[in-house]
């Protein structure tokens, strides 16, 4: 979409319409850095070939900063495909080399943006902000750093600032506001912010618009699949299971091995109590990318299916992945904290992990997990304070309301607890394999006279999913 170049002597209004947006970094950013992470690339071998090709070119042209920048981007992609965080270190080395060759020019904005993406991938959100700011300070005219800046601010819970950053995602060449590429970047991100603010319908509309842009742009399959997954998540969390089903299936149609959509559909099947299908889908996802959250979901399902040996395998896998290297350890604080809290395991450690995470990430879901771990450690008052922060933006998420309801019940606020739990179930009656039933049980207890309810509720609210296997085996191991 390159157009005639602006001329210094020309009238300003004419120049406005003639500027073209830079799309190189933007395209990479589409692929690499969307809020929940980019999708799997077209194939592992393609990325490997890309890396090998760039390595050869770097030997031939050792002074070309673009090659090292491209190599860094390729390593990032590889890291996302494999969930092997050591690739991020390789990316950082390549990007540093690029920046050694060129750092003080708009041409270096791409490498600095990729540095920001690496920092995001490693959950170094403040560093991501710094790199994105540095990229922006180079004034390349490429809006991509605004996207990463917004992402980092979102993870830090600075939603208003994130909104302001995303507002820069527009194409200066387009008088209407944005070209499809920039619109995609904008809509897919703002959809998540709208969801966090409690506007699920608005979020769905934006995400659908983003998908339309992605299709119109013929973006790579993984980007389209990622977008469908995002839509599925918004639908699922806000209780629209049909919409979620359509989105996940559409994502798998575009990219059959989209691990996110496999896992999303697996969780949906679990909510529909189609556990065998759920297990099969999550196992497929886990085979592609070993994320501990997939293993944790499988763990729950195996327990529910009374398969203690299989559950134990998942438990071991979670421990292994999380401790694979120091970066992984940091990356999965939140997942581990939730897993331990949910299952009544290593409860002290669960709070410690949540606190470590809150040091670097202050979004609502980290506050939620901190609240939940505190609750599980019988520190309900502190939990309620943390939960207030999680609920502040007004996110319509059944699991959040469930956690909040259980905490309020423990705090001795049965009316509020009832309201919150009812809201969770109204939003999505099947939001979790265990907690839907738990919410109904608690509501039943809250229905009996106040004093008795409080006592009984307190007794009933411990380590719901640790039943069967966990109490006998895993606790002993921890």
């Amino acid at each position: 979409m390159k157009t005639t170049l602006p001329n210094l002597r020309l009238a300003s209004h004419w120049v406005n319409s003639m500027l073209s947006v830079r799309s190189s970094t933007l395209a990479l950013t589409v692929a690499l850095s969307l809020i929940a992470g980019a999708a799997l690339c077209a194939g592992q071998s393609a990325t490997d070939r890309n890396i090998q090709g760039l390595q050869v070119r770097a030997k031939i042209y050792p002074q070309d900063y673009r090659i090292y920048d491209g190599l860094g981007a390729a390593y990032i992609q590889k890291g996302r495909e494999t969930a092997d965080s050591s690739y991020y270190e390789l990316a950082r080395q390549a990007l540093n080399k690029s920046l050694d060759l060129l750092s003080n020019d708009p041409g270096a904005a791409s490498a600095k943006t990729h540095m920001a993406v690496v920092s995001m991938a490693e959950h170094q959100f403040e560093d991501a902000i710094r790199w994105a700011q540095e990229a922006l300070a180079l004034g390349s005219g490429d809006p991509a750093p605004w996207a990463i800046l917004g992402d980092a601010l979102t993870d830090l819970g600075r939603y208003d600032q994130a909104t302001a950053a995303y507002a820069h995602l527009r194409d200066p060449a387009d008088a209407e506001g944005a070209s499809p590429g920039v619109a995609y970047e904008h809509d897919s991100r703002v959809a998540y912010l709208e969801f966090l603010k409690g506007d699920s319908q608005g979020a769905k509309r934006l995400m659908q618009a983003a998908i339309s842009s992605a299709l119109a742009l013929h973006l790579p399959r993984e980007n389209v699949a990622w977008s469908q997954y995002q839509l599925g998540e918004i639908c699922f969390r806000s209780g629209d299971l049909e919409c979620a089903e359509r989105a996940y299936q559409a994502g798998l149609e575009v990219q059959p091995d989209s691990y996110r959509n496999l896992a999303g559909l697996g969780e949906l099947r679990a909510a529909q109590r189609r556990n065998a299908e759920a297990i099969a889908l999550l196992e497929r996802a886990l085979a592609i990318v070993p994320f501990p959250m997939y293993a944790a979901a499988l763990y729950d399902l195996e327990i529910k299916a009374d398969h203690p040996a299989e559950a134990k395998k998942q438990y071991d896998l979670i421990q292994f992945i999380s401790r694979l290297n120091p970066i992984n350890e940091r990356l999965f604080y939140r997942e581990l904290a939730l897993f331990y809290a949910d299952h009544g395991l290593k409860l002290d450690e669960s709070v410690a992990l949540a606190r470590k995470e809150i040091e670097v990430r202050q979004d609502i879901y980290t506050w939620d997990i901190l609240a939940w771990t505190l609750y599980k450690n019988n520190r309900a008052e502190e939990a309620a304070q943390a939960m207030q922060k999680a609920l502040a933006p007004g996110t319509e998420d059944a699991l959040l309301y469930f956690h909040a309801g259980m905490i309020e019940a423990r705090c001795g606020h049965p009316e509020l607890a009832r309201t919150l739990l009812e809201r969770a179930l109204r939003l999505n009656p099947h939001f979790h394999p265990f907690y839907g039933d738990e919410a109904r049980r608690t509501l039943a207890l809250l229905a009996v006279p106040a004093g008795a309810a409080h006592r009984q509720t307190g007794a009933a609210l411990t380590s719901v999913p640790t039943s069967t296997l966990a109490s006998g085996t895993l606790k002993g191991r921890s």
């Binding site: 390159k2 170049l5 602006p6 001329n7 210094l8 002597r9 009238a11 300003s12 120049v15 406005n16 500027l19 073209s20 947006v21 830079r22 002074q63 920046l99 050694d100 060759l101 060129l102 750092s103 003080n104 020019d105 708009p106 041409g107 710094r130 994105a132 700011q133 540095e134 922006l136 300070a137 180079l138 004034g139 390349s140 005219g141 750093p145 800046l149 600032q161 302001a164 950053a165 820069h168 200066p172 060449a173």
Partner: protein, 423 residues
């Protein structure tokens, strides 16, 4: 004299900001701290020294303390010692030369870099800045156009283009591109934001929009408190509004730390217009002492000194000597104007006319420039041209100062032009 500070955007990745006197540390200070930490961690990594050099230059600009340039030069030397001829090190050196107003050397080095790497946007920007400062506006235009062509929509190109448009008198175009640069300024890049706002304020003041200028400067001082460039510009606005006492207060505040000869001159002018003649004389003396010590240096205040010698000190011969010295270095609008004025002060009005017309040909719209053109025309007896120029000057600045030494005829023409304008 206008200073582009093209490197500003590239050297101040900021997190919160404040000048020297305030805590916590400013964007550039943080950048220095970070760069120094990298230097300690990786003492053989040349890029760490380049980053340090740029951060030190940014700090110099933040507070107007030229002492940082020496440290920056040392950092660049370290970088080039580790990796002789490294690209970013060479670029950093050009940036330093520009900040030190060594335009001819900067142009030579930038041109050499450009021959080897013709697709680097910023090197074209350095060339444009040096070309404009040396008075080669055609070359500056070509270089700036390359910036835009290589990477459409890049902010350094907007800033460079805005400066050239200002030189050409396209104030609206300049404001438009500064606005674009401002929109692209990342959050918390406070000094950068303040710098752009201050430039925009300067343009508004130049076309008589004091209220807009005031508003922009208040915004600038809010995001970067006590910014010396914003305080200076606000003082100019106050002088244009004939609020001289406030201008004096602002300049005293500005000169509290690291006063420059130019800022001393502005304070002296403000004091004079505020009727504080004794203090004004002292301030002019301070200015003169400092400015004279720098006559032979690239980073000088020779334009101000020429005006001072011609108008206040009644040393026209000295004014012309200094103007000729400066003309040996550069031929930008302001040097041409100062030379013309010195020639006029020495009664060489035919030559003065030639020089002022060269200055005006660039297109710059500035009240002082038209005033000088009017005075020179009047001295040559060209009443028509004098009236026209003086009216243009009044259109831009309704309250200019008429020096005692100006001829009575000029004063009459001036009054006539003012009356015409009033009707």
């Amino acid at each position: 004299m206008k200073i582009l500070f093209l490197t500003l955007l590239l050297t101040v990745p900021a997190f919160g900001a404040s000048p020297e006197t305030m805590l916590p540390s400013s964007p550039a200070q943080r950048r220095i701290e970070r760069a120094q930490a990298f230097v300690q961690q990786q003492p053989n990594r040349y890029q760490a020294f380049n980053d340090l050099a740029l951060a030190l230059m940014a700090r110099a600009r933040e507070i107007g303390d030229a002492a940082y340039y020496q440290q920056a030069e040392q950092a660049i030397r370290n970088s080039l010692r580790i990796e002789p001829g490294n690209f970013e090190g060479k670029k950093a050196h050009v940036a330093l030369l520009l900040d030190e107003r060594k335009y001819r050397e900067a142009l030579e080095e930038a041109t050499a870099i450009n021959h080897g790497t013709p697709d680097d946007v910023l090197v074209w920007g350095y060339m444009a800045e040096a070309d404009a400062a040396l008075g080669d506006y055609d070359a500056a235009e070509k270089a700036a156009q390359w910036m835009m062509d290589l990477r459409p929509g890049n902010t350094p190109a907007y800033l460079c283009g805005a400066a050239l448009r200002e030189d050409w008198g396209d104030i609206d175009g300049s404001l438009d591109w500064l606005s674009k640069a401002l929109q692209e300024t990342p959050p918390l890049e406070t000094e950068e934001e303040a710098w752009i706002l201050t430039r925009m304020a300067g343009l508004n003041r130049a076309i008589g929009k004091s209220e807009s200028a005031d508003s922009l400067l208040q915004q600038a001082l809010k995001v970067f408190p006590d910014y010396h460039l914003s305080l200076e510009e606000l003082a100019r606005v106050r002088m244009a509004e004939q609020r001289y006492t406030e201008a004096v207060e602002l300049m005293e505040r500005r000169n509290h730390t690291f006063p420059s000869p130019q800022s001393r001159y502005l304070l002296a002018e403000a004091l004079g217009r505020a009727g504080q003649e004794v203090r004004a004389r002292t301030a002019f003396a301070q200015f003169e002492q400092e400015a004279r010590s720098r006559i032979d240096q690239p980073d000088n205040a020779n334009r101000e000194l020429v005006l001072y010698d011609a108008d206040r000190a009644r040393e026209p011969a000295e004014a012309l000597r200094i103007a000729r010295l400066e003309m040996g270095r550069r031929h930008d609008v302001w040097t041409l104007d100062a030379y013309a004025w010195a020639l006029h002060a020495n009664g060489q009005d035919a030559d003065a006319r030639g020089q002022i017309e060269k200055a005006l040909a660039v297109g710059t719209r500035e009240a002082a420039l038209f005033y000088h053109a009017g005075a020179i025309a009047a001295a040559r007896g060209d009443k028509g041209a004098a009236s026209r120029y003086l009216k243009q000057s009044l259109d831009l600045d309704p309250a200019p100062e008429i020096m005692d030494r100006d001829q009575q005829a000029l004063a009459l023409l001036f009054t006539s032009a003012r009356d015409q304008r009033a009707h």
